[in-house]
């Protein structure tokens, strides 16, 4: 596969390490009353879609950016790539 790195352009997927569902970015509030359940769900429950999937890739043999890659699990077509840093900030993680 080729991943179109937002800063570095098209790179071979061999340069990357795969982590998994981008929902790992949405870490629950650790101080909430339901934190134990929230963390359980966050860590262990995943959707497994046949189709578009947002996932985390780490450019380990490159610039060490974590990327959020939107990939179709059926065709491997990649429709969107962005820096996880930007994505996470948009999800409100910098507050």
């Amino acid at each position: 596969m080729i991943i179109n790195h937002p800063l570095l352009g098209p790179r071979d997927a061999q340069e990357f390490v795969y982590l998994g569902d981008a929902s790992l970015i949405d870490r629950p509030d650790a101080s909430g009353e339901t934190a134990l359940d929230d963390f359980h769900d966050y860590l262990y429950l995943r959707d497994n879609p046949a189709g578009s999937h947002k996932e985390l890739w780490f450019h380990e043999q490159g610039d060490r950016s974590w990327l959020v890659v939107t990939r179709d699990t059926r065709t491997h077509e990649i429709t969107h790539v962005e820096l996880a840093f930007e994505y996470a900030k948009r999800r409100g993680r910098d507050k």
């Binding site: 963390f39 491997h76 910098d94």
Partner: protein, 985 residues
């Protein structure tokens, strides 16, 4: 030796005779021959034995689809099994031998399998060898392997080199027949970056095998003209002897170039093969088509082969399987073969055409509406039985029979990304589905366009179409006039009614009956039938077999072939040697290895090295008179405890953490607190995973308010850095913090023992106070040594002694170890390796990889109270799961044998005294064990249920696989200086 079956003409070089041997007998061929063509020219038809029944077999095809003629090439370490004689380029001195026969090809003792064929029907593995289960591994499988084998490996390392390479292009063209050449010419002239890959050793594909003229030229001449023009273009790369074997995602193709397979051995510095990874913006599949046979009783005898292959042997290689040949066809292409052979002077005994309306011929007898129903000739075809249109039988003597069942486009690569081919009634074959893949198009015969004229036009047209998408404009070149015969075919797959076996898959000995039986037994999906009968497996992947079996299955199901569907085509298109995939990654080069800064020095000391991750680390340093590793290790341990020792700890991961929020960041990634760590101090930190289990441990030293140095274990240096970047970029992107790995930037040495400070004082510049008061336990700082060399000093201890770690820029590492050893002479300083390091840390009760194995919590490690509840750190919430807080969970303890002489082994399990040693009674296990010179006995760390409450208890240490059962006393994990006084002096 005469070449009895050599004809006139052909693309062979008669001025260059080549001698070769097959099964020990010497023959002569010519440059340009393949092993198969040279054997045929020498009248050798019998080339192998079949996989299951050991039936005598001859060459069946003239290309990479060959199911029968599998041979071993070369001798000794270069011996290569299961190569196809049809693609083995002849060279002088080639040694080839047949496979799967004993004692000889003509007399094979295991041919009795054939007589018992009724016991070897579809699924016989599953039916016959089920009980008793234990017999499978010991008896059945070895016997079957011996009997149903292919070739043999020599067992020695392959002496040749294999390489890997990367290529980029606008247009990859796969195959150089008429459509491929037209494509290459169009794209090459347009200035596109083109790669033309051809599996054969001459470009031209089917043009080389046909007699039809292109305008006034021979096809091979036209191909040579085009190739010479392409060679002159800098933007075109021609790769012959190169098979594109797979299409992967996003325009990536795998190809193997057989650089030296046509030579006795590679010329110096050249690889045997190169595995290319090709990145193509667009690709064109111009891989042609493969002919398919028609099945009938005893259709597998040597001499029975594909008609188009006969034509190729006659036209290109001037070789024939016999002087008297019959053809069995269901389409007009069979007539072309008969005409070409006849023109080459071969006697066409008869052309058997199952169609009633077969075109007539003045050159040979055409038996229309007839079928070949059986054959004779044990080691080679002697005659065929033909059922004529009126039902009468006729026996025809002939030495070879050509089968022409139509042509299957080579759609394989269009299916590697799950594309499904579609059925084309006009040619009765699957063709690539159009427009399903924007990157890979098919043209020519691969797209079902079987005439030369059509192939040329479609090649040029598809090239223009593909290049347009890349904004490269191209024009159709002037193409030669070529034959444009329509395809006239009446689908006909197998002759019905015979009592004997009619082979569909020659390589796996799958017959029409096998398919029918599988269907009767309920295997209706084509994928199931494949696996039950082994249809379409092994080196040829059923290239000549699958379609016939699909037809039988369709008939059984009362469906059409497209409704039954085809099995999925997967890479590789043809076999690729493991060596090519491995490339240079063999032996020591399997993966990179890393040397510590003191490696050269350690080698000079005669150190014994051990692999630690990618690193080579000194394991111990034997000195004169020591003959056993324990002597060295004990001496090193005692020296550290009594005076001072030095160990290279560069391999530990080092991560530089900087930024205004660095402390807050560390608070998140470590379960214990770091916000209040003063500048100039170091703290032990435990990192948890989010699930509450320990991930890694190490220290963090605060060099400035906004600057920390984090250390990790050697093994986890990479994963921890990845994890920290995840935390920084994905979880807390608002923090002002930056990370960089500096593992390689600093050479770091542990200086440990009561004399450590005295030693260091000799090299640390006097401006820096490293006295116990000026630089107390857990202090850290930037200093200079040896007259202004910048260094970092950490007063931390893994051994439990007064100890420091000193770091200098890596390039000074070698100098520093030499300086430290020199300065330490007066203290009898010793270098110590990883073994002594291990003993020292076990004596001190420090956890390492054996304890931090991904299954241990902070509580199990005795650090439960370290998990701060006042802040949000990774793993804190789920550490609170009730199951992880159980009182009866495992706890880290120490173990000492009750009898001081007993050894404890790591991996042993713990059992209560008086209980049976079984899984139900298991109380825990030994994680690390060592002989402790300090204690004078074997000691160990272990996880024991409720261990913290059982100090002083006697427990059994059991390891049935080591025949070990001893009694041990549960102790604190700290065997030395539990109060930590030695650290603070």
């Amino acid at each position: 030796m005469s070449q009895k079956s050599r004809l006139d003409g052909g693309l062979i070089d008669r001025s260059r005779p080549l001698s070769f041997s097959f099964d020990g007998k010497n023959y002569t061929g010519y440059a340009g021959d393949t092993l198969a063509s040279a054997l045929l020219a020498n009248d050798v038809r019998l080339m192998g034995r079949s996989f299951k029944y050991h039936r005598p077999r001859g060459v069946f095809s003239a290309g990479s689809e060959e199911p029968n003629a599998l041979v071993e090439l070369r001798s000794s370490a270069r011996r290569e099994p299961n190569t196809r004689a049809t693609v083995a380029e002849l060279f002088d001195g080639l040694e080839a031998s047949s496979q799967n026969r004993f004692p000889s090809l003509r007399f094979d003792a295991l041919a009795f399998n054939d007589a018992f064929s009724s016991f070897l029907s579809a699924g016989f593995y599953y039916k016959t060898f089920m009980w008793p289960a234990a017999f499978w591994e010991k008896l059945y499988e070895p016997a079957i392997r011996r009997a149903a084998g292919l070739g043999r490996l020599y067992g020695k390392e392959d002496p040749d080199n294999y390489d890997k390479g990367f290529l980029h292009c606008d247009l990859l063209i796969i195959g150089s027949g008429p459509s491929g050449l037209a494509t290459a010419l169009t794209a090459g002239r347009a200035g596109a970056e083109v790669i033309l890959a051809e599996e054969d050793f001459i470009f031209g594909g089917r043009l080389l095998a046909e007699r039809n003229l292109l305008s006034e030229q021979d096809g091979s001449e036209w191909a040579a003209t085009v190739i010479s023009e392409l060679q002159s273009l800098a933007n075109v790369r021609l790769l012959s002897r190169t098979t594109v074997f797979g299409q992967y995602d996003h325009g990536i193709f795998g190809a193997v170039e057989r650089v030296s397979d046509h030579l006795p051995e590679p010329i110096s510095h050249k690889p045997r093969q190169v595995l290319w990874r090709i990145y193509a913006k667009r690709a064109l599949l111009t891989a042609g088509a493969t002919e398919r046979p028609i099945a009938f009783e005893n259709n597998d005898r040597p001499g029975i082969m594909l008609a188009g292959a006969m034509r190729a042997y006659a036209n290109r290689w001037a070789a024939t399987a016999s002087q008297d040949i019959a053809i069995f066809t269901n389409n007009d292409d069979g007539h072309r073969t008969a005409r070409d052979l006849s023109a080459q002077g071969v006697n066409i005994v008869a052309l058997v055409d199952c169609r009633i309306d077969a075109p007539p011929s003045t050159e040979f007898e055409v038996l229309s509406g007839a079928q070949v129903v059986n054959s004779r000739g044990r080691l080679g075809l002697k005659s065929i039985q033909v059922q004529l249109r009126d039902g009468s039988m006729k026996e025809l003597a002939c030495g070879a029979l050509g089968l022409a069942g139509g042509w299957n486009p080579n759609v394989h690569l269009t299916c590697h990304k799950r594309g499904r081919p579609i059925w084309n009634d006009k040619i009765s074959a699957f063709v690539p589905a159009t427009d399903t893949d924007p990157l890979l198009r098919a043209a020519g015969a691969a797209a079902g366009i079987l005439s030369t004229h059509g192939a040329l036009l479609s090649g040029a047209g598809k090239a223009i179409e593909a290049l347009k998408e890349l904004d490269i404009s191209a024009r159709t070149p002037i193409l030669p006039k070529a034959e444009d015969a329509p395809v006239n075919i009446a689908p006909f797959w197998y002759v019905k009614g015979g009592k004997g076996r009619a082979w569909l898959d020659l390589q796996n000995d799958v017959t029409v009956k096998d398919i029918k039986l599988a269907h009767q037994e309920g295997f209706k999906s084509v994928e199931h039938v494949k696996r039950y009968t082994t249809l379409g497996m092994a080196t040829d992947q059923g290239k000549t077999a699958n379609i016939g079996a699909l037809a039988v299955l369709a008939e059984m199901e009362g469906k059409t072939i497209p409704d039954v569907g085809t099995t999925i085509f997967r890479p590789p298109y043809t076999p690729v040697s493991i060596g090519a995939f491995a490339g240079g990654s063999r032996g020591k080069e399997f993966r990179p290895y890393r040397l510590t800064p003191s490696h050269k020095w350690a080698e000079e000391q005669g150190a014994v090295f051990v692999e630690a991750g990618n690193w080579l680390r000194a394991q111990w340093f034997p000195i004169e008179g020591e003959s056993h590793w324990r002597q060295s290790v004990d001496r090193e341990v005692i020296a550290v405890r009594k005076s001072v020792g030095i160990c290279d700890v560069t391999t530990l991961g080092k991560i530089d953490v900087q930024g205004a929020d660095a402390a807050e960041f560390l608070n998140h990634i470590y379960c214990n607190g770091f916000a209040k760590l003063p500048v100039g101090k170091t703290r032990y930190g435990l990192m948890l995973r989010e699930d509450g289990f320990a991930m890694d441990d190490g220290t963090a030293a605060r060099l400035a308010e906004d600057h920390f140095i984090v250390t990790t274990t050697t093994a986890n240096a990479v994963p921890v850095f990845r994890h920290m970047e995840f935390c920084r970029q994905c979880l807390w992107p608002g923090l002002d913090v930056q990370l960089i790995s500096t593992t390689e930037a600093w050479a770091q040495f542990a200086v440990a023992g009561p004399n450590a400070r005295d030693l260091l004082q000799k090299i640390v510049d006097p401006t820096h106070d490293i006295s116990n008061e000026g630089f107390p336990y857990m202090a850290c700082g930037e200093i200079t040594i040896c007259g202004c060399l910048r260094a970092r000093l950490f007063r931390i201890s893994f051994s439990g002694e007064l100890a420091y770690e000193i770091a200098v820029p890596t390039r000074y590492g070698d100098a520093l170890i030499r300086r430290l050893m020199e300065a330490g002479k007066e203290f009898d300083v010793v270098p110590y390796g990883t073994e002594a390091l291990g003993v020292l840390r076990i004596e001190k009760g420090h956890s390492a990889g054996n304890e931090l194995n991904g299954q241990s919590t902070a509580a199990m490690l005795g650090m439960g109270r370290m998990v701060s509840q006042k802040k949000d750190s990774i793993g804190r919430v789920l550490t609170g799961r009730p199951h992880l807080l159980r009182e009866d969970d495992y706890r880290l303890v120490g173990l000492k044998p009750v009898n001081a002489g007993d050894p404890i082994l790591s991996g042993a399990h713990l059992m209560n005294v008086g209980e049976i040693a079984n899984a139900a009674n298991d109380q825990g296990w030994v994680t690390s064990a060592a002989y402790s010179p300090h204690i004078g006995a074997s000691i160990a760390l272990a996880f024991l249920k409720k261990g913290d409450q059982r100090l002083g208890e006697v427990i059994r240490i059991v390891s049935p696989i080591d025949n070990l059962e001893i009694e041990g006393e549960v102790t604190s994990p700290h065997f030395i200086d539990p109060e930590g006084e030695r650290l603070r002096v």
